[in-house]
Amino acid sequence: MPMVEIAWHGRGGQGAKTASQFLGEAALDIGKYIQAFPEYGPERAGAPMKAFTRISDEPIYVHSSVSEPDIVIVIDPTLLGSVNVTEGLEDNGILLVNTEKSPEDIRKIVNFKHGKVGTVDATKIALETLKIPMPNMPMLGAFLKVNNIVSIDEVSEIVKAKFIKKLGEEKTKANIEGIKRAYSELRLG
């Protein structure tokens, strides 16, 4: 399988960096080569930021940022008007957005005519499962639906292993539920 490059768009404090690393770590755990890194600028909470994940079966040597992502994941829908999230996204690329809107509506907003667009209300899912508006882990679930480089079972196992000590059983379960719900509620169009 060729290298998969993922760009995460969020705002400082929304967990884009964490999600980018979590996906990378899950892939590393099943023997893939990975890179996960945020684009460092003058960060502050609330400012638009990007993070990237690269996953491959072969060693990864490239050290530039990702300019032509295969998949773009937008954690904060309010970025759509101000950040060109489809920049570099190829014709067969996939755009995943945390929004209550339909894929067709998002296509119109970002003027993306090719590839696939997926939408899921990840913030609502996070509020209902985790009780906090932290949509990053549900958006990871949305990713798993469109790319099977790592399976949802593998990710669930890693969430369990990593979170149980830090967050306890209840919050760990909530995180896994959030991932699974977004996985099944993702609308593709």
């Binding site: 990378g24 460092y40 040597y61």
Partner: protein, 397 residues
């Protein structure tokens, strides 16, 4: 090969270096945090607080004090480490030279960052390139994995009785220092065994054999002492290969002064340090697919400068582009370029040589930028001359 490798774990380059420091468990670390080195000091401080190392950690009020404390500790006979970046290294300046001239084997991971001004926290090599004449050994790393391994190896290089020079282990700020990659760690006891126990030859604390460090040394002997420093750096070129071999025997990774990729039959080649070499590899594969014989030379050790290795590696190459992530404001190109030209002049080979200053202040370098360099090299080969000896890659004109 010894079976000492375990499963890879996700670490940033800074975490990898902090882990190496934990496994080395030095006697003294005196450090001041500065972006993008901060994580190294942060993680290491945790190891100290958790009792995972027996190190005496000296939190100081500045980098000048950090290096001063390192000099004192090392002269006293302690295995001593610090870490820094950019302006931190600049503030150490006076003592950086003193550490080398006192022949103190201090180990210093440096996370490369642009020097001010204007203020910039991102990667370039202006900090350590500025310190290239300070008498420290310098090793440049392509990845966090290499930074981890070289930090361990550096201990043996610095402390070798016939070298006794401080070592900087350089990695690219943010690009590798803050990127998570899978890093294969060695077993604690293997690292402990490899670095061994440090026994300083002339420690200040040995009151039975009193010595003096840093006295006045005027016209009479200063020159000879400088000459000894110089001979030690030259001698390191002969000693380090033995340590590379021992490292390979212990841990399995083969190191050399230089690293090459598809260079043996290359017509055109890029010479670059650290992470940019990695970005070049994919471009070389692509060009090779088109029948273009492109290659890469990456000096790992910049001080001492591995002249013979470089000349031998370039013997079949017809045109070379030297990529410098630092500007030396000499009006004659970057520091790596001038070194390469200097060693080629007294050699039997005469490839076309050109210079590209790139990536200052963290300006990203993409595969397309690298492609442009190779395309320029192909043109130079055709025209039998370079159109521009000194170029600025990725800068607005």
């Amino acid at each position: 090969m010894a079976q000492t490798k375990s499963k890879k774990i996700p670490l940033t380059g800074d975490q990898a270096v902090a882990t190496a420091m934990k496994q080395i468990d030095p006697d003294v670390v005196a450090a001041y945090p500065i972006t993008p080195q901060t994580e190294i000091v942060m993680y290491f401080s945790n190891y100290v607080a958790n009792g995972q190392v027996s190190t005496e950690l000296i939190p100081v009020e500045s980098e000048h004090s950090a290096m001063s404390a390192c000099v004192g500790a090392s002269a006293a006979g302690a295995r001593t480490m610090t870490a820094t970046s950019a302006n931190g290294l600049a503030l150490m300046w006076e003592i950086v030279y003193i550490a080398a001239s006192l022949r103190l084997p201090i180990i210093m991971p440096v996370v490369n960052r642009a020097l001010s001004g204007p203020i910039n926290i991102h990667c370039d090599h202006s900090d350590t390139m500025g310190a290239r004449d300070s008498g420290w050994i310098q090793i440049y790393c392509e990845s966090g994995q290499e930074a981890y391994e070289n930090t361990i190896l550096a201990v043996r290089i610095a402390e070798h009785k016939d070298i006794l020079l401080p070592v900087m282990i350089c990695q690219d700020g943010f690009i590798t220092s803050h990127a998570v990659e899978g890093v294969q760690l060695f077993e604690d006891n293997k690292v402990k065994e490899f670095v061994g126990e440090y026994k300083a030859a002339h420690p200040l604390l040995d009151v039975e054999n009193p010595v003096t460090y840093g006295p006045l040394d005027l016209q009479d002997y200063y020159f000879e002492h400088k000459r000894q420093q110089s001979e030690s750096m030259r001698g390191a070129l002969k000693i380090i290969p033995g340590l590379f071999k021992e490292f390979e025997k212990t841990f399995g990774t083969k190191y050399d002064f230089i690293d090459t990729y598809k260079l043996e039959d290359a017509d055109i080649a890029i010479i670059a340090l650290s992470s940019t070499a990695g970005t070049s590899r994919g471009v070389i594969d692509e060009l090779r697919g088109q029948g273009i014989k492109a290659g890469l030379l990456r000096p790992r050790v910049f001080r001492p400068f591995p002249r013979e290795k470089i000349i031998d590696a370039l013997k079949n190459v017809k045109a070379v582009a030297v990529l410098d992530r630092a500007e030396s404001f000499s009006a004659e190109g970057g520091p790596l370029y001038t070194e390469i030209k200097a060693v080629l002049y007294n050699s039997d080979i005469k490839p076309l040589v050109t210079n590209y200053i790139y990536g200052l202040g963290g300006r990203d370098i993409f595969p397309d930028d690298i492609k442009k360099v190779y395309s320029d090299l192909s043109a130079a080969l055709k025209n039998k001359k370079v159109s521009n000896p000194i170029n600025y890659l990725g800068s607005r004109e």
